[in-house]
């Protein structure tokens, strides 16, 4: 029994989500290998080789693998799939994009967003926006799985000493091509991995008002998040959205400001260790999950809180 973890990276840095997926692989048992698919990505393979618990790193390095096109990445995974009992992807945008393509080609079911490993064939995953937890068993010969990164504590990034093995890159499928990328610039910690998240909702009222959260986030070293209402209204960029259809976060501290707490938003943050809600409506559902709630006008409370920290 050997598990293959598909690395999440940008060709220069191994992303933290990979370390959470390796942790899930360790719970399954058996050897853990990591596959790095990219272009000029040797540095990523070297970082993966140092992760605790990794026995071997496979590196497929070629220009046609630079941009993570689903057709090429899936073909690369399939090229080595026969050696593995489990194939794990972090449940990131790229993992979710590629994993089902691999599963369908292998004619196996895929298990999405696991948050727990009961045994080598039985896993827990949330359904209905996290309102229920399903325990599912797979009888398929290969288990193709995406791992909810907040469900598993990351393994140490250092301490391992795996060998890196180069493997032959698959040819370009020719079916799709990469045109461009617009990366939102941010000096703040990455939302999905942040220790503290400060999120704003419709209650902020405008993109201008959203800036009221900046000093608070700076003070706390927090990532900024947003509810769907705030994103749809243009107060915050799309990739800040926390919820069923946005990012799933589980920080030590989640501060929800002017967020009512719809089911879809709670799906993305209710596993946070401590939740603080600031809302002027005492009946807002967010108070149902908040450890500490403060009823009040956020425009007074937020600056006051920033000052008091």
């Amino acid at each position: 029994m050997t598990t293959l973890v598909i690395a999440e990276h940008d060709n220069a840095q191994l992303k933290g989500a990979t370390l959470n997926a390796v942790a899930a692989a360790a719970k399954i048992g058996g050897d853990v290998h990591v596959l790095v698919v990219g272009a000029n990505a040797r540095a990523v393979a070297d970082q993966a080789a140092q992760a605790a618990g990794v026995a071997k790193v496979l590196l497929a390095d070629a220009p046609q693998l630079a941009d993570g096109l689903a057709e090429n990445v899936a073909a690369q995974v399939l090229a080595v799939a026969s050696n593995y009992s489990h194939i794990l992807f972090p449940a990131t945008a790229s993992g979710k994009n590629v994993a089902p393509r691999v599963a369908a080609k292998l004619d196996v079911a895929q298990i999405s967003d696991i948050i727990g490993v009961e045994s080598a064939d039985t896993f827990q995953r949330p359904i209905y926006a996290g309102n229920a937890i399903a325990t599912v068993q797979s009888a398929d010969s290969v288990k193709v799985i995406t791992v909810r990164t907040t469900g598993f504590d990351a393994v140490a990034a250092q301490g391992g000493s795996a060998a890196v093995e180069d493997i032959a890159a698959v040819a370009d499928s020719g079916l799709s091509s990469f045109v461009g990328r617009e990366v939102a610039k941010s000096d703040r910690p990455e939302l999905a991995g942040a220790r503290v998240v400060v999120s704003g909702g419709r209650g902020l009222g405008s993109a201008e008002n959203f800036k009221i959260l900046d000093p608070l986030a700076d003070k706390l070293g927090a990532a900024l998040g947003a509810s769907r209402a705030a994103v749809d209204a243009g107060y915050a960029p799309n990739d800040w959205q926390v919820g069923q259809t946005g990012k799933i976060v589980a920080p030590q501290l989640y501060v929800a400001v002017g967020i009512s707490g719809a089911i879809q938003h709670l799906a993305g943050m209710k596993d946070s260790k401590v939740i603080v809600a600031i809302n002027k409506d005492p009946e807002a559902p967010i108070f149902g999950v908040a450890d500490y709630g403060l009823v009040g006008d956020l425009f007074q409370v937020v600056p006051e809180l920033t000052g008091a920290l």
Partner: protein, 249 residues
């Protein structure tokens, strides 16, 4: 050119589901059902492409019980030209749906299939990618912008950290994200017109597909409940709690 739009009947997004006491699933008896929100966005996008003249026909497809007909009628009220129901009472998992859809694609020969990125009941986010794999077509998931031109589709996708743009050769698979469009409200006249549109029914057997589930659900349980929190009177009390009780700042 023809576009196929798969739609799913799911528990309405506003309903907070309850887990059954025997842990066999969630209780969806007598609960409001609706079209999966991402599928509405898919139907809307296909309809808009048709209104621009880029598409000749929009075919909506649903797999499941007889009541999925209502979902198909909604799709036709938004703008789909006709509907196909793959009727079965069997539990359908994404791989089975992808296989049913592949059989329909082989029959209908669309150039583009637009699906929602995920259904809000099983939250799987698999079917579109699986269909693309079975057909060996290119895929663009989580689309926030779709443009058809010169035998190609250019799609802007929502990815972690921003947006990326891809060009796919047709035929292709696109899955919708929330920001792609705002689905129109269906009007009464369009609901009436939709009743007259063609709706064909086939079975998985007709399509030569075995829809048997591959994953066995052993149990469905309540998520761990959070212990009740408290309301604090002012900022000073909040800071005190965060520093001394929760110790998170």
């Amino acid at each position: 050119m023809k576009v196929l739009v798969p739609v799913k009947r799911v528990v309405d997004y506003n309903v907070k589901v309850r887990v059954k006491s025997d842990q066999t699933g969630v209780d969806i008896a007598n609960v409001k059902m609706s079209m999966n929100p991402f599928d509405e966005i898919a139907v809307e996008e296909a309809t808009r492409l048709k209104e621009k003249g880029a598409v000749a026909e929009v075919v909506a497809v649903s797999c499941g019980v007889a009541q999925c007909q209502e979902t198909l009628r909604t799709a036709m009220a938004i703008g789909a030209d006709r509907g196909v129901l793959v009727q079965t009472d069997a539990e359908l998992q994404p791989l089975a749906v992808a296989k049913l859809l592949k059989a329909l694609v082989d029959k209908e020969k669309p150039q583009l299939v637009i699906l929602g990125k995920q259904a809000i009941d099983d939250d799987a986010n698999q079917t579109g990618q699986m269909l693309a794999a079975l057909l060996d077509w290119p895929q663009a998931t989580f689309a926030s912008k779709v443009e058809l031109a010169d035998g190609k589709v250019t799609v802007t996708r929502e990815v972690d950290g921003g947006l990326e743009t891809l060009t796919l050769k047709l035929p292709a698979i696109v899955t919708t994200d929330l920001r792609l469009n705002e689905p129109r409200y269906v009007t009464l006249p369009n609901i009436m017109k939709a009743k007259k549109k063609q709706l064909d029914t086939v079975t998985p057997q007709d399509l030569g597909v075995d829809p048997a589930p591959r994953l066995k659900t052993l149990k469905v349980s309540e998520p761990p409940a959070r212990k009740a929190g408290i309301k604090v009177a002012d900022v000073a009390a909040l800071v005190d709690k965060l520093k001394n009780e929760a110790k998170v700042v």
